[in-house]
Structures are given as structure tokens and as C-alpha cells.
């Protein structure tokens, strides 16, 4: 690199550029990302080599922070201890310490934001099982947040986002309900799975019965779901389907750490797969997206999935920052 090769003069704005890169990254990661955002972002990226490097740099740092999710328990225990010390000094100090020790020891995530409400969360690619006092279990899939409150009268789980499988010890006097926004599910002796995406709610009943109750605007819809029923609720419609035991087993394949695709358009398979990874697979043209793919894939193995796309569908894969771009 001789002086004559210097293309970009010293501009003296590295702090601004680093900040712009960080602003783009957080927009991508945390907010609704539209096609327009993507176009604007691509233009910014192509504007200067310094922009591209700054984005690669901040993305790489962000990827590394993924390791911090192992600190979750530790941070939560700290938060619990702090919250309790603020509210009840003295005796509670001892209790808080015990809670902190329990949280660290069992790996349970306990975070008291309101009395008796526990927040349990998984990161992207995470998977954990929580057992309630009564023996009911809640199994959280990737990128899921639930808030649990248990009283003598009721057990309430708020599904803020993600997917969870519930195996409920039924009690007629202490109802078990799952709330997702303005919709609510009440257990009538069951195993069921609930998935909440930004624009839809999906419920499948594996065993027993569940009461679905949607309050939308002024009117209210109550539906009784039996084993094998799947209900899909979007803003505009509620649809009910019948599922075979095999289909239900595939829906729940994530519990075994795999995803099962049967003749699924690549674009849909990728959307499923991406739920488990912070590194995202993308296809740029719709013709490639319409190719179908089948098979059983480990949720954690993005490389195996990419290799199948290359070998079976004859696609090319290129890594671009946080993305793997599949194309023909």
C-alpha cells in the first residue's frame, strides 16, 4: 500500500460512521425491518468502504455478545437481590440471597418485576423446561418470553413472544390460563403448544381440551379445541384445522432439537430455521424461494442446512455479515 494507493482521504469522522453502523444494526435487530429500510441500508453500505467496515465491525462485536446469554442467570440473580433489597431491607436480604443461590444452582431464570411474577426467557436458539410447583411444565422454544404468576386461585402464563409447550396438571379450582395479547387459552386437562408471532397466534392441542377465548374490539369469540385441533388467529381471521398425530409430532419436533420439513418452499423453511439463529439465511429472488425442500434438520446446525441447500438444490451460499445468502 503506497501513498499513491490511498483512495479515501483522512476524513476524520470515524466516530460518526461507527455510530451510524450501530444505529443500523440495532434497527435491524430490534425493530420492524421493511424493504425500504433494507434499500436505504444497502445504499448506505455501498456509499463508502468505511461504512461497510464499520458495519462488519459492530456486527462482529454483537455476535460475540451472544456468549453473554450464559450470564443470564447471574444477572437475574443480581436483579432479584437488588429489587428485594430496595423493597425490604433486613430480613429480605437473607431471602434474596437464598433466591439468588437457588437461581444460580438450578439454572432457573427468576426475575421479579412484580410480586409473584416470574419472567422466563430463552435467547435465539435457546430451549428450556420450567416446572411449576404443581408439577405442570412449560417448555420454551427459541426466542421466547413468558411471565408466570401463581396464586392459590389461578395460574397465569403470559406469552409475550415465541413458542411454548404446556403440559398442565389440571385443576378445576385453580385454572391454568395462557394469555397472548387479547387472546386467552384455558386448560381443560391438556397438553398443547402455543406459538405467538408478531402477526399471528397458533395453537395446537396434543391431548385433552383447551378453551380459546379472543376478545377483539367489542366482540368475543370462544372456541373449544380438542386433541388434534389447530387454531390460527390473525388480526383478520380465526381458522381451525385438523392435524394428524404425525403432523403434530412434526410441529413439536423442536422439542427434540430438530425441524421437520416436508416439501416446504425454501423461503418458508428458511423463515422457520432463522428463528433459531442470529445468523440469518436469506434468498434474494422469489424463484429460488419457491424451490421445495424436505428433511429433518438439527435446529442448531445452520451449516448442515446450508450444505443441503447447496448439494440438493444446487444453490450457491455466500456469507454477508450476519447473513448467508442463497442464490442460484
Amino acid at each position: 500500500m503506497s501513498g499513491a494507493d490511498v483512495k479515501t482521504p483522512i476524513v476524520g469522522n470515524s466516530k460518526d460512521i461507527d455510530r451510524q453502523a450501530a444505529a443500523w444494526l440495532q434497527r435491524q435487530q430490534f425493530w420492524n425491518w421493511t424493504g425500504e429500510d433494507q434499500a436505504e441500508f444497502s445504499a448506505w453500505l455501498d456509499q463508502a468502504t468505511a461504512h461497510r467496515i464499520a458495519f462488519v465491525r459492530v456486527s462482529d462485536a454483537w455476535k460475540r455478545t451472544h456468549r453473554l446469554t450464559v450470564l443470564r442467570d447471574y444477572l437475574h440473580a443480581q436483579a432479584v437481590a437488588k429489587a428485594d433489597l430496595r423493597l425490604w431491607p433486613g430480613l429480605m436480604k437473607v431471602v434474596a440471597a437464598l433466591i439468588a443461590i437457588a437461581a444460580l444452582g438450578t439454572g432457573a431464570v427468576i426475575y421479579l418485576s412484580a410480586p409473584r411474577e416470574e419472567i422466563i426467557a430463552t435467547a435465539i436458539g435457546g430451549h428450556r423446561v420450567v416446572t411449576l410447583h404443581d408439577g405442570s411444565t412449560i417448555e420454551l422454544s427459541t426466542d421466547t418470553v413468558v411471565r408466570i404468576s401463581q396464586t392459590n386461585e389461578a395460574r397465569t402464563v403470559k406469552l409475550d413472544k415465541g413458542e411454548a409447550y404446556f403440559q398442565v396438571k389440571h385443576s378445576a379450582t385453580r385454572l391454568f390460563t395462557v394469555a397472548a395479547g387479547n387472546r386467552q387459552l384455558t386448560d381443560l386437562g391438556t397438553k398443547f403448544v402455543v406459538r405467538r408471532d408478531p402477526d399471528r397466534l397458533d395453537v395446537s392441542v396434543v391431548e385433552g381440551r383447551v378453551l380459546f377465548d379472543a376478545k377483539q374490539n367489542a366482540h368475543r369469540q370462544i372456541t373449544l379445541l380438542n386433541a388434534g385441533d389447530e387454531l390460527v388467529a390473525t388480526e383478520s381471521a380465526v381458522t381451525q384445522l385438523k392435524r394428524s398425530p404425525l403432523e403434530l409430532s412434526n410441529t413439536l419436533a423442536w422439542r427434540r432439537g430438530v425441524l421437520v420439513f416436508k416439501n416446504m418452499p425454501l423461503v418458508d423453511a428458511i423463515a422457520e430455521f432463522n428463528r433459531y439463529h442470529s445468523e440469518k439465511l436469506i434468498v434474494l429472488d422469489s424463484a429460488t424461494g419457491r424451490l421445495t425442500i424436505g428433511g429433518t434438520f438439527e435446529t442448531g446446525n445452520i451449516r448442515a442446512f446450508t450444505e443441503v441447500a447447496q448439494d440438493v438444490l444446487g444453490l450457491r451460499a455466500a456469507t454477508r455479515g450476519n447473513e448467508i445468502v442463497l442464490s442460484r
Binding site: M1, S2, G3, D5, V6, K7, T8, I10, G12, N13, S14, I17, D18, R19, A21, A22, A23, L25, Q26, R27, Q29, F30, W31, T49, A50, R52, I53, A54, V56, R57, V58, S59, D60, A61, W62, R64, T65, R67, L68, T69, L71, R72, L75, S113, I119, A121, T122, A123, I124, G126, D143, T144, V145, D160, K161, A318, T319, R320, G321, V325
Partner: protein, 199 residues
């Protein structure tokens, strides 16, 4: 000063055996893998050899741009030597071209030559040390900034949910996250972790 003797072609010599060129995504991956781990050492090098400390971040950016653009044409087969040679040439070049910068701006040109024989150690740390480093970085963010990053990265909440949980506006959350990510990038790449550093 003997600056005229500094061979302009030293870097070309270093990558004479390099073969292939890269496309941009490949260059991004190469850069993250080969160059970013050198940042802490590079920052030390620049700080030691440039008087005006406020220039250092901009110098780092210029080194990166030159390294990246050169790598697009030809992959350097000794990335570490290439990065430090580029940094050294850039410093020398700035002294030479900018009349406003006094010669003393470069602390010690002879030291630069010495540094070139043995580039400083890059950031190679054990996983445990890296975790400690990350945690220390997180702890140094301002409290609101850290809270937003923790809710986003560790709790996995969306921006809208972070705003609800923290009881602040979405634009403020966006600002906290931006500040947090920018600060974390500087701490994660640019600083030597407290743990052992492999020589």
C-alpha cells in the same frame, strides 16, 4: 530523519505470494476473521506512535479502509504484517504529506521499524477470559444503556417491548441501543482483555 529510505514497496513484498481476489461478502468475513482480532494491538501501536490521541480512531479507520480495499484486489497472505505495515506507512505518509503535522508527531520512527520486525501480539484469549471481557464491557455501559442492551440481548425482547419494560419512548430505546452497540464494539475489539494474552 532518513525517511526517504523507507521502502514504499515493503507491503507489496509481504503479499507477493498472495493469489486470489475476493468479493465483498468474502472480504467481510476475511476482515472479521483476520483483521478485527488485531484491533487492540493496532490501537496500542497507533497510540504509541502518534502524539495526537484524538486522531487515533480516525487513523484506525483509515488503516482498515486501506487494508480492506487492498484485500479486495489481492488477499494478503500475512494479514498481521500487512495491517501493521499499512499502519506504519500511513503514519509516515501523514507526516510527510501534511505540512501542518510536525515531524515529532510520530513519536519514534525507529521504534516503528522495530515494531515492524515483531508485530504486537493479537487478541487471542481463552473462552473464559473472553466472557469476563464481555461482562466487564457490559458493566461499563451507562445504567440505562446497559439495561436496554441486557433486555435486548439477554432477555431477547424487541425494541417495542424494551420501551414498555423501561417505561421510556421508542426513540430513546433506539438511542440507548445505538450507544450501547457502538461502545461495546470499541471495548470488545479495541481493548486488550484483562485475562491472559497469548504471546
Amino acid at each position: 530523519m532518513g525517511m526517504a529510505e523507507i521502502p514504499e514497496t515493503s507491503v507489496e513484498g509481504a503479499d507477493a505470494r498472495a493469489s486470489a481476489s475476493m468479493n465483498a461478502p468474502e472480504a467481510d468475513a476475511w476482515f472479521a476473521r483476520e483483521v478485527l482480532p488485531l484491533e487492540a494491538a493496532l490501537m496500542q501501536f497507533l497510540q504509541h506512535n502518534w502524539r495526537n490521541k484524538s486522531d487515533v480512531a480516525d487513523l484506525r479507520q483509515d488503516v482498515y479502509v486501506q487494508v480492506y480495499e487492498a484485500a479486495l484486489r489481492q488477499i494478503p497472505d500475512k494479514p498481521k504484517q500487512f495491517v501493521f505495515a499499512t499502519a506504519r506507512n500511513l503514519l509516515v505518509d501523514r507526516v510527510r504529506r501534511e505540512q501542518i503535522v510536525p515531524i515529532e508527531a510520530v513519536a519514534d520512527l525507529d521504534a516503528l521499524d522495530v515494531a515492524m520486525d515483531e508485530p504486537p501480539p493479537d487478541r487471542q484469549v481463552a473462552a473464559r477470559d473472553e466472557l469476563r471481557h464481555l461482562q466487564a464491557a457490559l458493566d461499563r455501559l451507562t445504567p440505562r444503556c446497559r439495561e436496554a442492551v441486557v433486555l435486548g440481548r439477554i432477555e431477547g425482547l424487541s425494541g417495542v417491548q424494551i420501551a414498555e419494560r423501561m417505561g421510556i419512548g421508542q426513540a430513546t430505546v433506539s438511542k440507548h441501543l445505538t450507544d450501547g452497540l457502538a461502545a461495546l464494539a470499541n471495548m470488545i475489539h479495541g481493548e486488550i482483555p484483562q485475562g491472559r494474552v497469548k504471546p
